[in-house]
Symmetry: C2
DNA sequence: TCTCCTATTGCAATCGATTGCAACAAGCCT
DNA sequence: AGGCTTGTTGCAATCGATTGCAATAGGAGA
């Protein structure tokens, strides 16, 4: 704005070198360059520690920068270099719109992701997305703000994810893998996990399993499929599937309603996640049922919180820390142009007290 | 790069209009401008819906943009407009370096903050900072990437925060407020909260209180002070203060060690946070102690998880949702140049089953 | 018919940093 | 002494979008 007037009617040539008011710290490379009596290019190189500038000059400029509390404008830097140093961590809430960021599974994996990313010098941009617009992922990916995207869960947005993954490489999702799928995933074998859970219940004498959790997202759908497979293999009836929304305030009532209605028809519960299992424990305690003697309950995830419940939660373990590391590794590989494949981890039964 | 060669030896004037290869979507305003046969300025205005462009042209350009999946480069836009649309949410871990992002209190407030910010069209940049460098906050604030900063907790970094707040307005912190403090805070009256907790224990017959939680950060220090005040007012001995680190893997052992050593000298526990209280419940159950009959336990925060414990947690409620909204409101006011003061909310006793 | 106004559009500066290339000096070699 | 290398530095284009101002065309009014 000021520059519009500056230099009006002056002789052509270098712009007038208005001395920087000493009370205001240097904000731009140009300020610093003026102060040091060199060009912005030299300042840029000096601050980057380039060996192209004379060591003396370099030190002088660095000292000057420190004295003036100078920090380069990342916006400009990133525009120029076309690298942002920012990774988007995105939670799509296609179904489950009311789910909150504070879902413990999500926060656990987010914590691990954030740790791994910051250790590598990347910033984390967090987005909790309700995909009402068709192109929600395109908007994120094409805004030019991110070097890569990590998706936590696939929700019911497989198509959108596939569409983007076809042309956008640095994208890794936590979730399940279906044959022919393009986008890179990290997750556990959910079918196997469901089977393990159900087999454990069956070995404990359960004959009529209920699966708690809604099955629109692929992960829980597969877990339920595994539960069904195990039941079928044991010659048991098809397990009952009961929807449970993840918004924590509704979950307790929903489960309570389910149980009062169906409790006479079931004798064991496989929960779609540890949070569902914990709430179930709570509801059963309220209804005067003993766990596991009256009704065994098994979870899925192995969140740290499962150690805090009474009784301690029997569950199917997903190695979330390893998964997070794997996601970040794969993302970096893809950013570097390499081709990183998916990781499907085996689930693992953790027997504690609830089943 | 290409442009270095382009136009060499050509007549001056408009740059050669190499037709855009139709297989590649339009990536820049210039691409689109070429396609539409107008200037980039017109495209920019058309996409912004400016009334300065002919309605027909505007529609044509918008259709073209949609057809080519065009999305403006946010980096460039933000550099030019000097607005980033990004708010930093920063967790300083000065003490408690091992604390994880997955701390439930942190995640709960983060969830509310993220909701409020995204509703207002802002993005969230998440930073978990271990303040080893003196100027950790300056680096964040001066990078030019953020329109404002929300701090979750003050850790032991009061000086650094004050220093920056003196010159950087759009900064709001969750935490406690001390007299003469410059930076804007939102939080609860921790001294009062501590007092309420202790008074409740004392009314239940407790005479020798232990406070679990380390007191280097101002919030817990004040809560402990409140506990001490209540004890003094009742003529009881000074409550025992026992350090407990927040890293969840260590907490259980630490508390167990504390309790085995001091359990004979105490008859009631005020925990510095709900997480500490929940772990204490777990440890007491393992040691065969009944809560509240043998040892009453009271928490602080009123996290949703407190409803899941057995017994349900008696606690001191902080209205985290309201606090998060207040933080965001104040931040926006400050971004707009107004002067928003602090908010100190009254804590509230929530009596459930653990005390 | 001429002037003036208005609705559109283009031009070019700007945000702030990076970087290829050119320019220049000093020192070395033959 | 002239040519060449080496070490430093400056110049200016560039990233991609925004926006004040100038320019143009067309229509209205006198």
């Amino acid at each position: 704005m000021l520059a519009h007037c500056r230099g009006k009617g002056q002789t052509p040539g270098p712009v007038s070198q208005d001395p920087l008011p000493s009370d205001r710290p240097a904000r731009t490379l140009a300020d610093l360059a003026r102060l040091a009596g060199v060009s912005t290019g030299t300042v840029s190189r000096a601050l980057a520690g380039s060996s192209l500038v004379n060591p003396e000059t370099r030190q002088r400029i660095q000292a000057l920068a420190a004295a003036h509390d100078f920090r380069v404008n990342q916006m400009a830097r990133r525009l120029r270099t076309q690298k942002t140093g920012v990774i988007g961590v995105v939670v799509p809430l296609g179904h489950e719109r009311r789910q909150h960021l504070s879902d413990p599974f999500f926060m656990t994996i987010l914590g691990h992701l954030a740790d791994a990313l910051t250790e590598n010098g990347y910033d984390v941009m967090l987005s909790r997305i309700i995909p009402d617009a068709e192109d929600w992922l395109e908007r994120i990916v094409d805004a030019g703000m991110l070097d890569g995207v990590l998706l936590i869960g696939q929700s019911d947005q497989m198509e959108a994810i596939e569409r983007v993954a076809r042309r956008y490489r640095p994208l890794v999702a936590w979730g399940s893998r279906v044959p022919g799928q393009i986008h890179c995933t990290v997750g556990t074998e959910n079918v196997a996990g469901g089977r393990i859970a159900a087999e454990h219940l069956i070995a404990r004498g359960v004959r009529r399993i209920a699966f708690l959790g809604e099955i629109r997202a692929p992960e829980l759908r597969e877990r339920y499929a595994g539960v069904c497979a195990a039941a079928a293999a044991a010659g048991l009836p098809v397990p009952l599937q009961l929807d449970t929304h993840l918004a924590s305030d509704m979950m307790e009532q929903e489960i309570a309603a389910h149980l009062t209605r169906h409790l006479d028809r079931i004798d064991g519960i496989a929960a779609g996640s540890d949070m569902i299992a914990m709430t179930t424990l709570r509801v059963l305690a309220d209804q005067g049922m003993a766990v596991p003697s009256d009704v065994p309950v098994i979870g899925y995830d192995d969140l740290p919180l499962g150690l805090q419940t009474v009784p301690r939660l029997t569950t199917v373990r997903q190695d979330i820390a390893r998964g997070a590391r794997a996601m970040v590794e794969r993302l970096f590989a893809r950013i570097a142009g390499q081709d990183a494949g998916p990781l499907v981890m085996p689930p693992e039964l953790v027997v504690r007290d609830s089943a």
